[in-house]
Symmetry: C3
Subunit: 504 residues, 3 copies
Amino acid sequence: MLKNVIVVVFGLISLFGFIGQADAEAPLSEATTECIDCHTTFQPGVVESWMKSRHAMVTPEQALAVKGLANKISNKDVPEDLRPNAVGCAECHTLRPDAHADTFEHNGYDIHVVVSPDDCKTCHMTEVDQFSLNLMSYAVKNLAENAVFQELEQSILGSASIQKDHIKFGSTDDDTKAEACYYCHGTVLNVAGTETRDTDAAGELEFPIISGWPNQGVGRINLDGSRGSCTACHTRHEFSIEMARKPYTCKECHIGPDVPVYKVYSSSKHGNIFSTKGDGWNFSPVPWTIGKDFTAPTCASCHVSLLVNTEGETVVERTHQMNDRLPWRLFGLIYAHPYPKQPDTTIIRNKDGLPLPTDFAGGFADGYLIDADEQTRRAQSLQGVCQNCHDTSWVTGFWRRFENTIKRTNEATLQATTLMSEAWKNGYAKGLSAKANPFDEFIEKRWCDNWLFYANTVRFASAMGGGGDYGVFADGRYHLSRNLTEMRDWLNLRKAAAGPQKRK
Amino acid sequence: MLKNVIVVVFGLISLFGFIGQADAEAPLSEATTECIDCHTTFQPGVVESWMKSRHAMVTPEQALAVKGLANKISNKDVPEDLRPNAVGCAECHTLRPDAHADTFEHNGYDIHVVVSPDDCKTCHMTEVDQFSLNLMSYAVKNLAENAVFQELEQSILGSASIQKDHIKFGSTDDDTKAEACYYCHGTVLNVAGTETRDTDAAGELEFPIISGWPNQGVGRINLDGSRGSCTACHTRHEFSIEMARKPYTCKECHIGPDVPVYKVYSSSKHGNIFSTKGDGWNFSPVPWTIGKDFTAPTCASCHVSLLVNTEGETVVERTHQMNDRLPWRLFGLIYAHPYPKQPDTTIIRNKDGLPLPTDFAGGFADGYLIDADEQTRRAQSLQGVCQNCHDTSWVTGFWRRFENTIKRTNEATLQATTLMSEAWKNGYAKGLSAKANPFDEFIEKRWCDNWLFYANTVRFASAMGGGGDYGVFADGRYHLSRNLTEMRDWLNLRKAAAGPQKRK
Amino acid sequence: MLKNVIVVVFGLISLFGFIGQADAEAPLSEATTECIDCHTTFQPGVVESWMKSRHAMVTPEQALAVKGLANKISNKDVPEDLRPNAVGCAECHTLRPDAHADTFEHNGYDIHVVVSPDDCKTCHMTEVDQFSLNLMSYAVKNLAENAVFQELEQSILGSASIQKDHIKFGSTDDDTKAEACYYCHGTVLNVAGTETRDTDAAGELEFPIISGWPNQGVGRINLDGSRGSCTACHTRHEFSIEMARKPYTCKECHIGPDVPVYKVYSSSKHGNIFSTKGDGWNFSPVPWTIGKDFTAPTCASCHVSLLVNTEGETVVERTHQMNDRLPWRLFGLIYAHPYPKQPDTTIIRNKDGLPLPTDFAGGFADGYLIDADEQTRRAQSLQGVCQNCHDTSWVTGFWRRFENTIKRTNEATLQATTLMSEAWKNGYAKGLSAKANPFDEFIEKRWCDNWLFYANTVRFASAMGGGGDYGVFADGRYHLSRNLTEMRDWLNLRKAAAGPQKRK
């Protein structure tokens, strides 16, 4: 009987794993110990978060020793001096001091505030390299250096002033930009100088002043010149894989009507299963086993994670180039289109010479977008995930409908664009041909609503299993059709009244 | 001391129940064993989900032996050959092979892809019979065979083209329909032929091609002619009662501004309690004990589940006719109204001869809707749930306000309809009397907004304890009143300008 | 080995604490025992909730004995007779019988239905006193006795009727008010008489009829004249601190586009961490330890709770004056402004003599709002929380952007107000100067949209770490700029057509 008790108790122990966790603490370097000594008082939240992290529990040495798919360190040449200790404060914040413009002397150490992907790359090389191929890594440049997008940005963020017959959107300030578009896209960090602060712990100390800080946008330009911010998804300082795998992380930037990903997901069958059953799932294992660890996908399952089946066979490989399994870019600019070949989309020229992946008539910017073969490869890669829970007839039926939705929403956008062109042609609004901002008048904004909100929402609803009302009554086809009638109605009135409404 | 340890350990064991679960596995039929042998490799997600299900753990024989309210099998005449084994793949997918048009030979078995309510009825007869009385079971016919609703559907899904002074919404394709309205309402399944697929496991195999597939809409027309899809709420293949009882299931179809049920619930006091405390509740027991298993209702508690009080007395019986406790149909068509008597609403004729439960002036289609006595019975049935946590003064006060809201929102809809009629009468838009679609012009869509979105949202907010801002600022009375002013404003402008804006 | 087993088992016991909980039950008074005897049958939900509460487990005597920050009873003079028993039904519902207009004889006891803050004050004096300084405690008066807000309320809730060229919003009924604005603001309770009800348990009994009941609004006027409803946040009858600390409670009233607090929070980095990791946090300890009990703030962490760092030092003190850490009132009326000095805002007069904290040009109502010193004190108090996870450069950068957003959104509101003034001046709408409701015409409602929805949403997005798309595409700057163009467009059309559109 006692033996049974012991067996059961050990079963419980391993079930909850707390003894295993206690053992897992890794030795701290002398430098990190020194950091923690002070900062545990001044930023207990940071220190406590980190203490819950895998970085605090496993040394690179131990992590490198893990073989096979469970290995988490893609760079096998981790410097020897980093191997024996936990990955603590000093390990990251003193790495590559010469590369970081914000490196400053702090209690005898050369530390930098902003840890960058190129720091993380010391261990996670493949992931950083993959991410650099992802559109997100160019999220700043792709917005800030695209003349058309800049017109759109200005028509939204620009300082508004009333003119005789229109609203003028002037330039805006950096703080507004950082709170708006660039909150998700990322800011450009620069060292603007230094300041002396009187600290509780150590009296007067000098710190760098970093313009563009704070920011965790996916395309942030860092002080070592690298692009991106791993903490956008791997939230500091716990860097929890559970967090990156749960949909709340993606929700931070994908919640509005332009990309209502989280809303659609959480209303889909998959989202329902996650919400209802997710508490019992295991979000930490690498690799991640379909059916055993989870019974419905999250964003990461389909788009990022290394998945295996219950026999341990790889279903899809991990990718941090999130579009690697995506044949179509749903986000309409102004039409949905095959993914751009390169993460830098400023190089694209459509047939009108504009830096847009499609032209106004819906044609794709040939040569700049992935071809049909690559689309097929990506579609098959994604469908490979679906097929672990759905048979072929389900998957092909779903996919056919999804591509039909792309086609139909592109057609609807063409109708909206035709109405917009009519307004421009007749002088009811001023667009590019009048050397004016094509997004800054009311009818132009209604046109934007069509592709930016409604067509996009309909597409995302189709892409994620018809999630919720988003295909129809929640910014879906109802709104898309209503918007077309509003544009028509607006034009009718101006045509009936003739001349006077025209902008001078 | 050792004895205490043992007692405690066994307490823990029963607390977590894992040994009990392990024991609960039921024997598999030979056929199901064969299915699993292959499909555990090809669809591990499906197999793993099923292995977590009650169907995998309890045989019909064991389930039939459960007496009293805990019994889950309402058909006592379950065929003998199904009783001794787990309810596995073969038990459902080979049931009634002659009844299913998609039955095909597969590795020596006659299997069908789409399991239908009439299959589930083999054990769950009462539930299927009740559901057949529910409006949802006619969700396809009620939309597809109602001429007025077809106009509405076409004005939303129809292929849009620009006409001289209006947008024409033409017909649409089946794939769009299946991704939009019929995603929730259900599709009509048909066997369109067969195809040969080259499978990894067994080389070339023949499969049926099913048009309308995949779909899990509540009113799906199945290949045995039955109506509905149990998996709409009892998600395959875990068929978890926990899932059906949590509000995320209802959210799949009730999230848009037309029926913002989940949004309102999750912002209500009840939703708050569920979100905060629900992790500690028990969602699986049958019957479900108020106070002990849960301390605030979910959708299922009020509308579906068998509830008992802490003394084991029945508070309300289980019903799968979800409107059995609902005196009012809130969803305005175009006014809120007593529930239709029959689930088939295509038979209704209002005083204008239209297949609508109310006429344009707000009158109810007498004879087709439940009478006051039935309304009282249903109200009392629902209030019987409320009274387990609220005293009589609370419940009557709440109910009086709720019915007042129905009255007021119907009054507001009448104002909107009067404005719409003025537009039709004066030729500013073309409605039914002009033999035109009454929903396809801008002002008509603004009229729809009034009853379809704002009046409905206000009603659902009242129905669920005033949940959140939905009664006022979130698609509520603010938007309803704004919309009326917009319709008035639109008409003012056309009247002032006279003739020219009229549609030719 | 056995010893180890025992140690582990006891570790598990304390881990789950179930034995400790069982011991914690406090003795019941005779009166409460009598209440429960009946009501456990009639309202099992209420009784079961209460049995899970701290009130059921700890006597005031035990609670008073707790020393230091963990003490939960701020009135040290709790009456002797209340000290030895659990805080049960009778302890609250028979307290101060003479003070409550709804006190009635019930089975030999003088009980009152509505427990008020002045009852709660018997133990929780400091909290009630603090709350009385909070704007929320005056939520009824501040709305019902402010002539300008009454115009706004009427333009939303008023019974609508069609006039020649406008919609008239008449008066509305009390039930609509109670379902709309006053659901959150609170109702005025009054005893309207008594009624006799035939009860299952005890035959005919007499009960008070309470107008305005049920309601749990934050500013409810109670039957003892006190203001507020503790159950708005401390949901009856579990009164769980966990519930008050989770964001779902705040969501009940802060979800619409006017105050999209929950939406923004749940899409922010903080909300992501809460959603992902919150299940493992401890929401019950007093004081609440940053990093140890939670690793990201909820609403309560920043605005209400007593927080300590991991060394047990107080970071911020508990306050139930929720604006005590808030220098700015973001909610635009019609501009964001420093917090009013007094919770009674009906006393405010702006330079135009209106009871508004700002004038139409954006000027602050001097003398009625907190001064710069108090703003600084409050800002530092709030930032003190931030600094437990963020360094100074992060916090100051964030704060600078946040205050910039206040400035920019106020500027945008000024543009909208200028357009509105132009409409009023030219007779295209009738405002205050024409002795008309300034909120009841379409263009006026578009003006409201600007400050009430879009400017507010943008501010809340900035206030909570740029949460989600709410700064741009989800009722954010996109909508704010679009709305300005719509107002301009509306005016252009009327100016072009001249005279006819003017309201007579």
